[in-house]
């Protein structure tokens, strides 16, 4: 597979997963209507509203918010001309506007990108990654981060977070109603099998939503790797950068799960989290994909 087919495949999979999220939402609505009757229909728009407000704020101000959450400091060209030179290279290769650049003082090698659109993009690097990597490797990392910006991954993850959040709110409200009020629909002609199914859907939906959200995040990481190669046409640079990240056991100090998905390498201990819930594909798998692209060129 070359990077073009990789990009197309990952876009298709993201679309499928977002559709899956929509279908899940629809199932939850259907289940709540079956179980509680028409009186609960009003809960769904409320839940979507709450989820939208909470996610939209962090999406719109993502560049500033993430700066405070990760302790990153904005830098100017004069602070690190070499890094800016490398970023300029990717800007030219991708035809995108110059992002804001920030540094996180942390010895663990890592990097991230955020921002609601390419004009408000922010890319950040830890001091550890700048020390550990040579020119080609750093170029690969920058290309991966700019690929997130180009693919609008902040928007994709915001959409995923909104739907997952709304599903969580709906099923939480309904589970409470079940506990306090029981079924409102007392006409007694409900199909018992449909009722049991609805109950199971309501209980399992939030977990399924989180799994879908993680799967979307993993697909966006693979897509960013492929897009990075389309910018640099040099899979070897990103591949050896990922090898350094894989061999390095230190992790970024602040382990806030809220921003775990934005780093190039997950700062959470991947061994303790099941693959279904992890925000990144296994790093060895990413290295293998890049190696297969190298053998093409």
């Amino acid at each position: 597979m070359n990077f073009r087919t990789m990009q197309a495949a990952n876009r298709r999979k993201t679309f499928g997963l977002l559709m899956g999220m929509g279908i899940l939402m629809w199932c939850v609505v259907y289940a709540s209507l079956t179980y509680f009757g028409g009186s609960t229909a009003g809960i769904v728009p409320i839940a979507v509203g709450i989820a939208l407000i909470s996610v939209w704020g962090s999406y719109y101000g993502s560049d500033k918010l993430v700066l405070t959450m990760t302790g990153a400091k904005l830098i100017q060209e004069s602070d690190n001309p070499k890094l800016f030179g490398l970023i300029h290279e990717i800007i030219i290769a991708s035809g995108m506007p110059m992002p804001k650049v920030a540094i996180v003082v942390d010895s663990a090698p890592n990097a991230f990108a955020t921002g609601r659109n390419p004009e408000h993009a922010l890319i950040a690097f830890t001091t550890g990654i700048l020390d550990a990597m040579d020119r080609d490797q750093l170029q690969g990392v920058i290309a991966h981060e700019m690929a997130h910006v180009a693919n609008r991954d902040t928007l994709v993850s915001a959409v995923a977070a909104t739907t997952a959040g709304a599903i969580a709110i709906v099923s939480d409200m309904l589970t409470r109603m079940m506990f306090f009020g029981g079924r409102r629909d007392n006409n007694g002609n409900g199909n018992p099998i449909a009722l049991v199914f609805s109950l199971i859907i309501l209980i399992l939906a939030p977990i399924a939503a989180i799994m879908l959200k993680s799967a979307i995040s993993r697909k966006r990481e693979s897509l960013a790797d492929a897009t990075a190669v389309s910018f640099t046409r040099n899979p070897a640079g990103l591949r050896s950068a990922l090898e350094i990240l894989a061999s390095d056991s230190t992790v970024v100090q602040q382990r806030s799960t809220a921003v775990a998905h934005i780093w190039i390498e997950s700062p959470l201990d991947s061994k303790s989290v099941s693959k279904l819930f992890s925000t990144h594909p296994p790093i060895q798998e990413r290295i293998a994909v890049l190696k297969s692209m190298e053998s093409l060129s």
């Binding site: 070499k82 030179g85 490398l86 300029h88 290279e89 990717i90 030219i92 290769a93 991708s94 035809g95 020119r135 170029q139 910018f231 046409r233």
Partner: protein, 183 residues
Amino acid sequence: MEIIIAVAAVALIALFLITQYNRLIRLNITVDEAWAQIEVQLKRRADLIPNLVETVKGYATHEQSTFDAVVTARAKATSATGVADVAAADGMLTQALRGLLAVAEAYPDLKASSNFLSLQEELATTENKVAFSRQFYNDNVRSLNTAVKTIPSSFFTGLAKVGEREFYEVEDPQDRKAPNVKF
């Protein structure tokens, strides 16, 4: 009712024509912008060269032929116009610069000087920028040429006064050294 349908049909056709026309114009402008970017980066590289040559001269006095090659190639590159000419001059200059850096390898004092090191980094990033702007230009020429040749956008090339554009192809002698496959 028939009037509404007729108006809607006309509006749809007009919308289709406008999108096709605008798409060609937009692609053509992107190619122009990509070309401007190549020129900016080539100019940057040309500006770096006198300084680099002077620095190397300070340590390596007996390499006059290498310096001459770089200076001649630079003069050609700065005066070239048109895609094919600029690309050819660019290839020659890249080649001459490789020769200059190879010469520098033989002088440990030069390689250790901080002035040379910063120039080398600047040259490395500029070479990459030239290469990336070339790649970006060629990618955009590819989309434009595809649009010019494929239906339906191909019908609008005359109206939009947009035609196929030339790829930026650098003659690199190193590429020719690819091993021959014999059966």
